[in-house]
Point group: C3
Chain length 436, copies 3
């Protein structure tokens, strides 16, 4: 239980606050699936972990897709007839449809309105819209603002560029004693949206810091990639690495105050699915497991039938279902420092479980070994001597080389860490041998 122990040793309040502050620091940047906002974000992550930055040229063929042109933007506004900026990109980058082509012209309200997006059901919120693969431009406004615009001529300017360049992403491999990999992936392409997905970026970054300080069996691969095209690009360029992935998690929307939701991998009963289910069952009674579906975030790429990797998606609120999703209300107020550290801890528990989930073989399998003469009857002064005794008996009983410690935890109903401690103790006492 290396990662959780490390986490427990840290100052909880300070860590929670640091997670929140990192999200806050990244919040103002206008990110997209390419461009300098994305690059700046990756460099800020690099200040914390030794991320490798990858740059893939526009036009590169990646699986069934092509890396798009690079998009950059320096300013955008709508001015009324008096020359006042009534819509200002500098105040909120959501105002511009992400990937808008450059435009600078004057037009009447009727023409402008064709390019305005609103959310009538939430009249004070600004929606988030993109147009990656169709060249177009537009502005996003609150509905109340849009309907208040008087007739007249407006000056419209989007000072953007769309041209040959690169798609950027960040990658960090922390090698373990085995080359079997655990993948942690999060998307870094959203502009000023907090839960989706600064929460994922923040938790993944901190997780990498934690893992880096430990000795571990698995190799850990962290990906900070633009959604969809980033996952496609990485998979296209790393066919060998993808085969080494044994377990994976996509992290998104894990900073709000909701309880956990875990969407299973396509395999639905992979070790990662069972590990997350076990950890959540013992840590968050309101957590819910969701079946796999081929829409969502990048798990859909990792779980495409040609790869079929055991990668699930860990969330608190589920993308697309909470009202603030993809609006200006997904801001820093939606994030909760306690939720961020709680998510970090759940991830740590999941990876601790996977690290420790071995198979053993009982070396005295005929009858019950005499625990008493080995000092293996838990002393009555322990925290829960009955649980400890049960864990030892279950571990001995099921350690026939076929059952993993997670199998034993599931069948016995005991928490994994108690089963794991039992196995370590029984191993030390010479009653168990490793079997995988």
């Amino acid at each position: 239980m290396i990662l959780t122990q490390q986490l427990d040793r840290m100052d909880r309040a300070a860590t929670a606050s640091d997670l929140y502050e990192f999200s806050a620091k990244l919040y103002p940047i206008c990110r997209s699936i390419t461009g300098n906002g994305l690059r700046q974000t990756l460099r800020m992550i690099q200040e914390r972990i030794p991320l490798e930055l990858q740059e893939v040229p526009s036009g590169t063929q990646v699986l069934d897709w092509t890396v798009p042109k690079e998009w950059n933007i320096s300013d955008a506004y709508v001015k009324d007839s008096s020359g006042r900026r009534i819509v200002d990109f500098q105040k909120c980058n959501l105002h511009v449809v992400n990937y808008s082509i450059p435009v600078h012209s004057r037009m009447p309200l009727s023409e402008l309105k064709k390019h305005i997006h609103t959310l009538p059901e939430h009249p004070d919120w600004i929606p988030y819209r993109t147009s990656y693969y169709k060249e177009d431009w537009g502005f996003c406004l609150s509905y109340a603002h849009a309907v208040s615009l008087p007739e007249g001529e407006y000056e419209v300017c989007i000072d953007s560029s769309l041209g040959d360049g690169h798609l950027s992403y960040g990658e960090l491999l922390l090698p373990g004693t085995s080359n079997h990999e655990i993948l942690i992936s999060c998307h870094v392409c959203h502009p000023s949206l907090a839960n989706d997905n600064l929460s994922g970026i923040t938790v993944a970054t901190r997780l990498a810091q934690l893992v880096a300080k430990t000795t571990h069996r698995y190799s850990y691969r962290f990906l900070f990639i633009p959604g969809t095209i980033g996952a496609i690009t990485w998979l296209s360029r790393n066919p060998e690495s993808s085969k080494r992935i044994r377990h994976g998690l996509v992290l998104t929307c894990i900073g709000d105050r909701n309880s956990f939701h875990y969407k299973k991998s396509r395999q639905e009963n992979a070790e990662i699915d069972r590990a997350v289910a076990h950890v959540l069952k013992h840590s968050d009674p309101s957590a819910k497991l969701l079946p796999f579906s081929p829409y969502g975030y990048d798990e859909r790429q990792f779980c495409s039938p040609g790869f079929n990797l055991p990668v699930g998606c860990l969330m608190r609120s589920v993308w697309g279902t909470f009202p603030e999703y993809h609006t200006s209300m997904d801001n820093l107020h939606l994030l909760d420092p306690e939720s961020l550290i709680g998510s970090l801890k759940v991830c740590a528990s999941i990876f601790d479980l996977l690290e420790s989930n071995r198979r053993f073989k009982n070396l005295a399998p005929f009858g019950e070994p005499q625990l008493g003469r080995r000092g293996l009857y838990p002393s009555m002064g322990g925290i829960s001597p009955e649980k400890e005794l049960h864990a030892r008996l279950w571990t001995l009983n099921l350690s026939d080389g076929n059952h993993s410690l997670l199998d034993i935890a599931e069948r016995s109903g005991l928490p994994f860490d108690i089963v794991c401690e039992s196995a370590e103790l029984l191993f030390q006492k010479g009653l168990l041998a490793t079997a995988d």
Copy 2:
């Protein structure tokens, strides 16, 4: 979805009315497991579909059974001492125990009563009784009628014959591009009983007309046979054909106003069982699935262990459980034209599903293919663009050559036809290849 489309193109009211009228036309005939009433019925079906009539001689050994003597009846009555017909076969053929041997004699009430069957729990209803394999005679009366008979001498006459002859049944094979068969079987041995089984005969006849007008993959075999002995006889004479049966339905009691009941085949999870379950789930929320049992109608023969064919039984009310079952109240009033056409439509949907239930292989299985550049993002003006998109993504995700479209529909929760349309579209766009 060829059959349902055809059906949808027809005038619904006219079709419903035609189904009802055909039942009404067949209603008065005194059918049995052999004889001229049965033959006349088959000929009336033959006026609509090119049924082959089979005649199997009495005494023929069929599996563990022997084809019985042929039974015919021209008249029957009981006259009171004044010579008045107080029981008259001409008015209701249920009055005579089916397969009664000839009798003509006078007897006191006490003697007559030994041969009278009633239903005390429904004092105004006439029961339906048979004595196929034990030579006997009898009359069926309403209980009220029977208890009102005064003492006295009665003249009893059953002008029937029981002798060497034939067992008749009708068979129609509509060849498809494959010689794998779908079996539709219904029993034609009941006299004036409407739901059991003129409803089955009527729907099966119309279904054959529909199928005949289409191109289809499967060959369809329609059997119009006397219950039990007819199925035994057909199976005995057609060992090779029976091996070609891939799916089958026995149709009975499908004309009343109840919701559907489907009794699964002995295999319980055969493709036909899953297909019916899927169609009913999406068309009749009150429908119920029943486990297989070795009693019922001819599915018990098709599902005997030596054959173990995937044949289930589709009903509305379940034989033996509705009060009118096997009584004079199972008459034309119990039939509902809307129910008949509803049953026809459900059968059409089931066969459409089986026809279309293929396996495909995603030709771009690594990552998600880019739908946008192929025009595969459903336009927002569609009926349910989100469902369509989900269907496409699910079909791509699960088309690994192992999952059938029904597997995909079941796992995604989407209706089969939407999945099927997606597969066709993706196939046209070159993203899928057939895999079976």
Copy 3:
């Protein structure tokens, strides 16, 4: 259904009373895991069934354990300063911690109290305590008694011996036509405790008497053994016999008024588990099935991973969960003659089921055989003609050589004995052949 039939032929009240009386006769003896109390108990069982007594020397290595020294006790007491026996082993053998080493000395109350065990939550009950593997001595008193002891000097005496000797156990093999064995095991090491486990001893003894009077397929092995060390010893000395065990039951706590509880074997779906579940379902609607766990009675040894035998544990109240467990209140009042005979009957039904649970092959598997001409339509005068007919049809339908009669009973929902009678009748009529 040989055993239950025999039981039904016996005088129920007399049998119940005899079971109770045998328990009562054994009750006063001070048993332990070795010693003369155990030996005397085995000899009293020997008066009823031809038990073989085994004696295994102290120090013998048995699997991971060593046979302990033999313990005997003739007297024990605590006298107050006036010389009055205020604690007297002769009145209740629970007063002495089982396996106490000899002691004879005077001591103040403060010193004595270190050796006194009580149950504060039940102030009038005397607890049962042991110290088999740690040399120690002690007295068990009611809490009320213990707190009432005045300050002063006490004479303490335990006239016991602990030295080289033997571990005793009893074994009876009743050979059947096959050498496949059914194991019935009960522990005989508890002093004056009634439900745990004189009830098990009493029922097992009577069961052996019943089995001895019948012809049977399985060989039955009855073990009367000290808990844990007895099972370990038997398994250690009988590796070949243990391999012949096909089904097994540990009997304990089956004399009280509670409904049945059955703890499944480690295999959880072994034939014994299904047989017990079936018998209880049809005889005790309140019965509960419990999952396997590696703590409890000797099933934990039989179900250790090296043996993994299909041995479950049949109880009424579950050890460790009823308040009287391991206290002076587990006395003869807790036993109910009706419960004892009820437990005997359930065991008889379970073994009858296992004896009869064969596989058959339908010799007329194509279509349904004609029951009528073989007189196999149940006469309407029978007890439940419909059930009988259904049982015959189910047995014919599923007798394909793969389904056992228990499989058929489970799938049809019919009681095993009706299915079994059907199979016998169909076998006599030449419609079934044995298939295992």
